[in-house]
């Protein structure tokens, strides 16, 4: 079954996305901090990971760096969904590590992310 992992620390934000993904029949596993997020990605090996950048315990950029340097995970497509401007250092660092897309949270709605996610699901 296709799987997506969302790493995001705002529980209400997570709830909104869980509701939409479940309506669309896509399994969404979530983690509320960077460390738990990396462990979840390692355990699930999802078709797609959606990462916030500002996360407790381990930043999204750090999670991404660990994914990219792990043989079994490095091919996983990653989307960054952040509150930080495209012109910030953090977003540019993440882009250098290789991501499919970077979106500003306020520019999108869950429906749009489901649409994007479908492109990467097997």
């Amino acid at each position: 079954m296709s799987q997506v992992v969302l790493v995001e620390d705002d529980a209400l934000f997570v709830k909104m996305y869980q509701k939409k993904f479940s309506k669309e029949g896509i399994s969404l596993e979530v983690a509320l901090d960077g460390e738990a997020g990396f462990n979840k990605i390692k355990e699930v090996k999802p078709d797609l990971a959606i990462l916030d950048l500002m996360l407790p315990k381990m930043s999204g950029t750090e999670v991404l760096r660990k994914i990219r340097s792990d043989e079994s995970l490095k091919e996983i497509p990653v989307i960054i969904m952040t509150n930080l401007n495209a012109s910030s250092d953090e977003v540019n660092q993440a882009m250098e590590l290789g991501v499919k897309e970077t979106v500003l949270k306020t520019d999108v709605v869950p429906e749009k992310i489901v649409e994007t996610a479908r492109k990467y699901l097997k």
Binding site: L84, A86, K105, T106
Partner: protein, 290 residues
């Protein structure tokens, strides 16, 4: 030329005073770096705290409007559509406030490329804005030109400047047109945004580029006056490119023309800006700035 007298270096430097000066300088540099980092972190935290709630409100309204929670009646639909307009307005305000803080803290990143086609940027923009325009809005036209040189700049920032100017013009133009045209003057490409709108009053002209100054009350139906930050941000963005942004002319009841200049690719001005950006980058990297 000014006459400069260079005093003869002292033969003996007091080693204690010298060491003290070095220590003070090092401390000062460290403090500046800490301050720089603190400013950066403050903006990141502010972005997060301001944007996350807006994203949740927007997403939830959208889900209800599109029937995710079941059917809703027309009245609720209308109320939610109004709410969505307010939320989008708020998101724009937050975006602009954050842009201003980044500009003022000097932590804005410019992805300057050497060759940009300003005419095609304007055309794509006009097409998009025309496609999403309501009936009350006038159409945007772009002058056909083939012999304009390429410019040096950051595509997203230049688009943002053009969007700002064009949407401003559209707010104050009930009838007629908003048009984008171009010219070349020495090492600069000039872009003009001209409207046939209400014009800007004499009193407003002097404050136009100050923060929170609105050119006037919108004359077109339901369009929002905005935050009064757009022109300030646009001016700063253009200046970072080595260009300028100004009000070319405006007459009440006749219309206004805003203009901005950008350096031609490969020109001395363009190369100087590129060198400055590279120098800033290397200072930042050497400083161990995140």
């Amino acid at each position: 030329m000014e006459n400069i007298t260079v005093s003869k270096p002292q033969e003996k430097i007091d080693p204690e005073a010298y060491n003290r000066a070095i220590r003070e300088l090092t401390n000062l540099t460290l403090r500046m770096r800490r301050l720089d980092k603190a400013k950066d972190e403050f903006i990141s935290i502010a972005s997060h705290e301001l944007r996350n709630p807006m994203a949740i409100i927007k997403g939830t309204i959208h889900a209800i409007l599109t029937g995710d929670d079941g059917e809703i009646n027309e009245e609720v639909k209308e109320d939610l559509t109004d709410l969505m307009v307010v939320v989008e307005r708020q998101i724009r305000l937050v975006n602009e406030l954050l842009d201003v803080s980044r500009i003022e803290a000097g932590v804005i990143y410019f992805n300057i490329v050497k060759e940009l086609d300003i005419v095609s940027i304007a055309k794509i923009l006009a097409e998009t804005l025309n496609a999403s325009a309501t009936e009350e809005m006038v159409k945007i036209s772009v002058e056909e030109t083939t012999d304009l040189p390429k410019v040096q700049g950051d595509q997203d920032k230049i688009s943002q400047v053009l969007i700002n100017l064009v949407t401003n013009s559209r707010k104050f133009t009930k009838q007629g047109s908003v048009s984008i045209s171009f010219a070349q003057k020495d090492d600069l490409v000039l872009t003009y945004v001209t409207d046939t709108g209400s014009g800007i009053t004499k009193e407003k002209k002097d404050q136009l580029f100050q923060k929170f100054t609105k050119p006037g009350d919108p004359t077109v139906g339901t369009m929002s006056a905005g935050s009064g930050l757009g022109l300030y941000i646009s001016k700063k963005y253009v200046e970072h490119h080595g260009g300028e942004l100004w009000l070319e002319k405006s007459e009440e009841g006749v219309g206004s023309t805003f203009a901005f200049s950008l350096p031609v690719s490969g020109s001395a001005k363009a190369n100087k800006i590129m060198e400055e950006i590279e120098a800033m980058k290397s200072i930042k990297e050497k400083g161990g700035h995140k």
